[in-house]
């Protein structure tokens, strides 16, 4: 019988989708059992049946006191973990009174200068029970040290602190751009964090490798996974060079992935990624502990999938993205809010994102059974095809001389920027459908005016004043002594966490500690574009 002509369909990763999948397509793709190597169906035997995914909306703005209020509000609405957003000066290691920080203090996240700020932001939040994630990279060691110091004040030993620092500097050079130091010393700082946590903070994740931002920068879903794995390997290698064992190091490394795009491709990406990562850690790194092989991840966001046009459509997209993450078996989820194309999320939008996840988890049966798509002819076939593409993407990076070299040279940046341009051209020409933008668009309407988070200039000014007071009242000798020790440690090869922890406790500021490191390390210079 002749099949009628239908248009061909290709996924972003380049895989062609057939109109129909049958048992033949799934042959040879037995996904095994969840909780068992290679963990295609999930890293735990019972997955969400035992514990739904952790809900961790990204939040933080203005002063530590304002952020504390938002945290308490999210926790009171049933969120069970925190995800701290920092303002750009903090992300770049600048104090609130630095001239370069003007107009940015508290704008896209919370402003942190000293230990006191983080202590105020986490007031009343028990750090051994509420897992705290911090989206911080270049100055990650400073913020991690502050968190540990706050924990000590709460009588929580460092070994009991639960949470994650993003601390994935290599992706900052590719997308997001919050880098400070050159590539080499930057990777050393990541290794210092992994080493310290591997030895002293076994419940704290020292790095969250972000395929997420690579995808936002133009990577397709297979490259998102493949490049993230190459970056994770760079960190593992740097940490293993310290003489640690793979089974102490690998469990401290987690991942952060994106969810926008074709639903099935995302689900297959997560399943394929779990399988590939388990194989890498077991076969290439000779890990024995199953925990080392687990691809633990936060999934969500979906920023590049959201549109400024008809912003309410983003609420619907968010629900589909959460579905993709849940069907993909993510441990933790955070969704972009529908107004994020304009501004940092309003409280209403933030709550709506949390409600979206709660509705899926508690009303829709997403937690009833493990990997409900397992065994689907299409999904199993696609998982296999995605794994091949992930492997191919990793091989490409190695052919470029490794991920660190390719990022130093700007090769990855140029390649992804070229792909991002291609995507934009396809969106503008309508080849890539976007409802409300190039399909069914109302047309001619100006973007709606959404409630934009106001900049609080008075609070920023007060923050700077507070910093002046602190510098006047702290022990100048202790700050100087500990900062000098940070500089000496940076010149040598000892782990930087202990001296930074001392400096933080002596009320040295984020800007001062960063300056001490910059003095030794210098600054990154961007390759030409």
């Amino acid at each position: 019988m002749d099949t009628p002509e239908v248009p061909r369909v290709f996924l972003e990763s380049g895989i062609e989708v057939k109109p129909l999948y049958t048992a033949d397509d799934a042959t040879g793709h037995d996904p095994g059992r969840p909780g068992e190597f290679p963990f295609t169906r999930g890293i735990h035997p019972l997955m969400y049946r035992r514990q739904p995914w952790t809900m961790r909306q990204y939040a933080g703005f203005g002063t530590p006191a304002q952020t504390n209020e938002r945290f308490r509000s999210l926790l009171s609405h049933g969120q069970n973990a925190l995800n701290i957003a920092f303002d750009l000066p903090t992300q770049l290691g600048l104090d609130s009174d630095d001239p370069r920080a003007e107009g940015e203090v508290g704008r896209v996240g919370m402003a942190v200068d000293t230990l006191d700020d983080l202590e105020r932001a986490l007031d009343g939040i028990p750090l051994d029970r509420v897992s705290t994630a911090m989206t911080i990279n270049a100055p990650a060691l400073v913020l991690m040290s502050m968190l540990f110091a706050v924990a000590e004040k709460q009588q929580v030993p460092i070994g009991q602190v639960r949470g994650t620092i993003q601390n994935d500097i290599l992706k900052e050079f590719v997308g997001r751009g919050a880098w400070i130091f050159p590539v080499g010393p930057s990777v050393r700082l990541v290794a210092d964090a992994i080493e310290f946590c591997g030895r002293s903070a076994p419940k704290f994740n020292a790095v969250s490798v972000c395929g997420y931002h690579l995808r936002e920068s133009g990577a397709n879903p297979a490259q998102e996974m493949g490049l993230a794995f190459e970056i994770a390997r760079a960190y593992l290698d740097a940490a293993l060079a310290r003489g640690l064992a793979i089974d102490d190091v690998a469990p401290r490394v987690t991942f952060n992935f994106n969810v926008y795009g074709n639903l099935w491709e995302q689900v297959a990406k997560f399943r394929a990624g779990r399988r590939r990562w388990a194989a890498i850690v077991r076969d290439e790194y000779r890990a024995r502990d199953a925990k080392s092989m687990h691809l633990r991840m936060i999934a969500g966001g979906g920023g590049s999938g959201l549109t400024i046009e008809e912003p309410e459509n983003n609420i619907v997209r968010g629900a589909c993205y959460a579905l993709a993450a849940a069907l993909g078996g993510a441990q933790t989820m955070a969704l972009c809010c529908y107004d994020e194309a304009y501004t940092i999320p309003s409280e209403k939008a933030s709550l709506l994102a949390l409600r979206t996840m709660q509705i899926l988890a508690e009303e829709m049966g997403l937690c009833d059974t493990v990997d409900p798509l397992g065994g689907s002819y299409y999904i199993e076939s696609l998982t296999g095809a995605m794994e091949e593409r992930i492997v191919a993407s990793m091989a490409e990076v190695r052919a470029l001389g490794g991920i660190v070299n390719a990022i130093e040279q700007g090769t990855i940046q140029r390649r992804l920027a070229g792909q991002a341009y291609e995507i934009e051209r396809r969106l503008r020409s309508g080849q890539m459908p976007k409802v409300g933008v190039n399909r069914h668009a109302a047309g001619g309407a100006t973007p709606p005016s959404v409630e934009v988070h106001p900049y609080d200039a008075a609070a920023a000014k007060a923050k700077s004043a507070g910093l002046r007071d602190l510098r006047a009242t702290r022990s100048a000798a202790a700050a100087e002594r500990t900062l000098a020790a940070v500089g000496r440690a940076a010149e040598g090869s000892e782990n930087l966490v202990p001296p930074i922890l001392d400096a933080v406790k002596a009320r040295a500021t984020l800007g001062e500690i960063t300056a001490a490191l910059k003095e030794v390390f210098g600054e990154f210079r961007e390759p030409a574009f």
């Binding site: 003007e102 704008r107 997308g175």
Partner: protein, 138 residues
């Protein structure tokens, strides 16, 4: 007679915002349209941008800002380029309600996210033709 020199554009990322995908997309679109584009890279100060605009002898300066700090940054860059005859345009995450204030401080054009490339290219070409026929041009 056709201008023998292609249009030169500076695409700049002022301030601390590190989101450069949009800037790099526009750089490529302008290059494909035959323009010479200098991209500053991230974290540039208004002073560095103004200096680069003069040193590179560009016809137009395009700023890309996504952090929300566009008003103070644009004011600063425009003030530093006052009298140079170089128009300054901006794109990124710019709320509709801020467009009037940006125009008031001397930003000649705000391109919204998703603006067609042809629209940006056409605007720059037209603006350059206008200034090359005026006596105050370079």
């Amino acid at each position: 007679m056709a201008d023998p020199r292609p249009v030169r554009v500076l695409v700049a990322k002022p301030g601390l915002d590190g989101h450069d995908k949009g800037a790099k997309v526009v750089v490529q679109a302008l290059r494909d349209a035959g323009m010479e584009v200098v991209y500053t890279g991230l974290h540039r100060t208004p002073a560095e941008i103004a200096r680069a605009a003069i040193d590179e002898d560009v016809d137009v300066v395009g700023l890309s800002i996504l952090s929300g700090a566009h008003l103070p940054i644009c004011r600063d860059v425009v003030a530093r380029l006052a009298g140079s005859g170089k128009p300054v345009i901006v794109g990124g995450v710019i709320p509709v309600q801020d467009e009037a204030a940006l125009r008031e401080c001397g930003i000649e054009r705000v391109f919204r996210m998703g603006a067609p490339f042809e629209e940006i290219v056409e605007w720059i070409r037209r603006r350059c033709r206008a200034s090359s026929s005026s006596p105050v041009s370079r």
